[in-house]
């Protein structure tokens, strides 16, 4: 009898647990759906890149939580017996029989016998049905439908969020790629601890930048900075295994970036084709891919065409323009890729002149780097080739390139090798260029003539007096001490016989050569300005006094 009662109570308990799980699951998932719906509605208005993962987590948690709560809230055996008593109107026969388990006195035996006779006709599944009320089910369905509908809607906020999310994802991919490069370099013998440390630091910075990137452009810049650092390291390394490894790593990274862009271009191409007959979502996707490609490859034309395509409501005409721009982008990408391949082959033959090999790489992808390479060439073979062409092309290139943001890069490159070159011809370059050099801290006194340069130095300054101090210093004007205006006789190189060298003197330069300003003049003006500023401020009097004292102390 004991076993019979126990089995019965166990059956009731299992059934009640099923009921409990279903009930809790329903309420938890309904709550999860409600929360997800709120998140989804919020994400319609506010860019929320994590909305989808959040919703997925909320729903998953609600399901898990519901099941766990259902199991935890399931009744005990005695509670189940009491529920059976209540449901079957057994007047506590079952629970008392369960309570009397193991007792064999007359009353207990009679009681259990009585209980067993009552429970035989009790249908557990029928008496404890597992079902959800219609109103509850309707609520659940309504929430699910609303969530589905709100999830399908595409708003500008959603588009922004999607891009932000993709930026994060792409950033992670890039970081993983760079980490692999770093790992390979670590495994490579020959790299000094300092070099490795620098690379690690740079990777750490790049990682931060990639994580904080808000746009594809930010990603591109962050990755470029790392690659530049890699190139610089390769340039500065002593010829040997380590140098080759660094060069190889830099080239592979460039190639990977190239491949990524090609892949993206291919995807954009396909998306555009799909958008031709597709719905608005397809068109939006094509736009987003074009935009991504334009930002990652720095193709402004493609970006403009993509914007125009979207603003026109995805018209056929604008799509054709975008396709055209995409084709051009693809051509450029292919060209760059070929150049990069060519450089790889040159590396072997020109090991002796790093600049030459570097120029090959940079020609393939970046104008700014081209300047660096030309300097390198000057350095190695100024007499032969440069004289013949320098005036016409080199100056021209330098001018045009230095105008852009790549001047900074140029400075970075010049750090290792440009000192010699500058002596030859670039010392008198424009102030912006000087700014870059200043950061490097390696420039010696300039003595050359003929340097031109109208570009603004807005690149990343890796250097400091010690060689690196962050890269936030831009547009910093310096004085080239003992500078001499460029005259032919000051060129350290040997002019060619045709005397076709042309010296162009920058008139827009913000640098000045050899002018000196007395400390008193600078300090006095600065003090006056500072005092005036604090007089007009609402700093506490005590603080004002302290500042005045400081400046007085300077005198």
């Amino acid at each position: 009898m004991d076993a019979e009662i126990r089995v019965f109570a166990g059956r009731v308990r299992r059934r009640l647990r099923e009921q409990s799980v279903v009930r809790e699951l329903f309420w938890w998932t309904t709550g999860g759906l409600l929360l997800s719906l709120i998140l989804s509605l919020v994400s319609l208005a506010v860019p929320f890149p994590m909305a989808l993962p959040f919703i997925a987590v909320v729903l998953a948690l609600s399901v898990i939580g519901g099941m766990a709560a259902g199991v935890l809230k399931a009744p005990t055996l005695m509670e189940s017996a009491l529920r059976a008593d209540e449901q079957g109107r057994f007047e506590e026969r079952v629970s008392t029989a369960l309570f009397l388990q193991g007792r064999e006195d007359a009353f207990s035996v009679l009681q259990k016998k009585d209980a067993v006779s009552r429970i035989r006709d009790f249908r557990v599944r029928k008496e404890f049905p597992v079902r959800i009320r219609k109103r509850q089910a309707a609520l659940f369905l309504a929430l699910a439908i609303l969530l589905g509908v709100s999830g399908m809607a595409d708003t500008p906020a959603r588009q922004t969020a999607r891009v932000q999310s993709d930026v994060k994802r792409t950033g992670k991919e890039k970081l993983a790629r760079l980490e692999k490069v770093e790992q390979r370099l670590k495994e490579q013998e020959g790299l000094s601890e300092t070099e490795l440390l620098e690379l690690e630091e740079q990777l750490e910075r790049t990682g931060m930048d990639l994580k904080e990137a808000q746009s594809y452009e930010d990603l591109k810049k962050a990755e470029e900075r790392f690659l530049k650092k890699l190139e610089m390291a390769a340039e500065q390394a002593e010829p040997g295994q380590a140098k080759e490894a660094l060069q190889k790593a830099a080239q592979e990274s460039l190639a990977a970036e190239q491949a990524e862009q090609e892949q993206l271009a291919q995807e954009a191409q396909e998306a555009l084709e799909k958008a031709e007959d597709g719905d608005r979502r397809d068109k939006q996707e094509a736009y987003e891919k074009l935009k991504k490609l334009s930002e990652l490859s720095g193709d402004q034309n493609l970006g403009k065409k993509a914007e125009a395509y979207q603003k026109s409501g995805f018209s056929s005409g604008e799509r054709a323009d975008a396709r055209q721009a995409l084709s051009e982008n693809q051509k450029n990408l292919t060209g760059g890729s070929k150049m990069a391949d060519g450089n790889n082959s040159q590396t072997g033959s020109q090991t002796g002149s790093q600049n030459s090999s570097q120029s090959g790489n940079q020609n393939g992808s970046q104008n700014g780097n081209q300047n660096g390479s030309q300097n390198g060439n000057q350095n190695g073979s100024q007499n032969g080739n440069q004289n013949g062409n320098q005036n016409d092309s080199q100056n021209g290139n330098q001018n045009s390139n230095q105008n852009g943001s790549q001047n900074g890069n140029q400075n970075g490159n010049q750090n290792g090798s440009q000192n010699g070159n500058q002596n030859g011809g670039q010392n008198g370059n424009s102030g912006n260029q000087n700014g870059g050099r200043n950061g490097n801290g390696n420039n010696g006194g300039g003595s050359g003539n003929g340097g031109t340069g109208t570009g603004g130095g807005s690149g990343w300054n890796y250097g400091s007096k010690e060689g690196r101090e962050g890269y936030a210093k831009t547009r910093e004007n310096i004085t080239i001490p003992e500078g001499v205006l460029g005259e032919d006789e000051n060129l350290t190189g040997i002019a060619n016989g045709n005397q076709t060298s042309q010296m162009v003197q920058s008139e827009q330069s913000r640098a000045w050569s050899g002018n000196k300003v007395s400390y008193g003049e600078v300090s006095g003006a600065y003090k006056e300005k500072a005092i005036r500023k604090i007089d007009g401020s609402n700093y506490p009097g005590k603080l004002k006094e302290q500042i005045r004292n400081y400046f007085d102390g300077l005198d």
């Binding site: 008593d85 008392t96 309570f99 006195d105 009681q111 009585d114 209980a115």
Partner: protein, 325 residues
Amino acid sequence: MIDEKTIQEMITKIRTAESEIGKGIIGQRDIIRQVLLAIFADGNVLLEGVPGLGKTELVKAVSRVMSASFSRIQFTPDLMPADVTGTNLIIKQDGNNVFQFEPGPVFANLVLADEINRATPKTQSALLEAMQEKTVTVGKKTYQLPSPFLVLATQNPIENEGTYPLPEAQLDRFLFKLLVEFPSKEELYRIMELTVTNRKTELCPVLTGPEIIEIRSVIRDMPLSDAVMDYALSIVVATHPEREGAPEAAKRYIQTGASPRAAQAIVKTAKVRAFLEGRYNVSFEDVRFVAYPALRHRLALNFEAVADGVTPDAVIREILDGIRV
């Protein structure tokens, strides 16, 4: 070892007794049932009701059916304790004057203390020992009362002048306080048929004193699950307004909660009820059924309850509703 057959015979006897009492008392089914619960739970009963509702008749009917000795004491203000318990008389024995105890009316199986609240507290308290200890002490000697012993007291709730309300200590000694209600019209009709004609109803004795004692003993062994016991105790605890988690009604209207005797009364009588229902276990419903008569005289309501016209039964109902099974 008791068997099912014996138990069934006992149940049959009690039911027969119940039905016999019902022959002499029209209506009042619940009252009869509750009086029987008290008898088999070995407790005393206080019957409250306006005059003429058959309280005394009920007690007489019970005594006849139980074939037990019966005595009636009409409580009046001048009733003395010795009039209840008995007294030592000086008698001549072998030429000497000796004291001899003359038992009072309390020496019976069934004692009807009619209009108990009309006697002075001193006399009322003469019943205390008898009700609780089933003994009477006169002088230096204690006398055992016959077994079974049961006091059935009545009191009139409306004529308060010249009455002495029973003190709480004495009230607590009553297992049940039963409220005798006015009969329905149909019942009244049947009462008329029975009382204003020459028709006589003969009540047959069904139970003897020893049988009652044996049944009491059997019932005491009835099992009670933890859940039911917990429920009964929760009810008693809930009557204490000072306890944490006390129901709102208790906090608002109860001045003093029920004593542990209340818990004993509930459990004992719930067992009897289950037995009478033919069950071998006590149910929540048994507890709920006996909670009212077992608690209503044990709750001391405060002034607010009196002012609001709240009855103990109303408070008990709220307490029962508030306790989840």
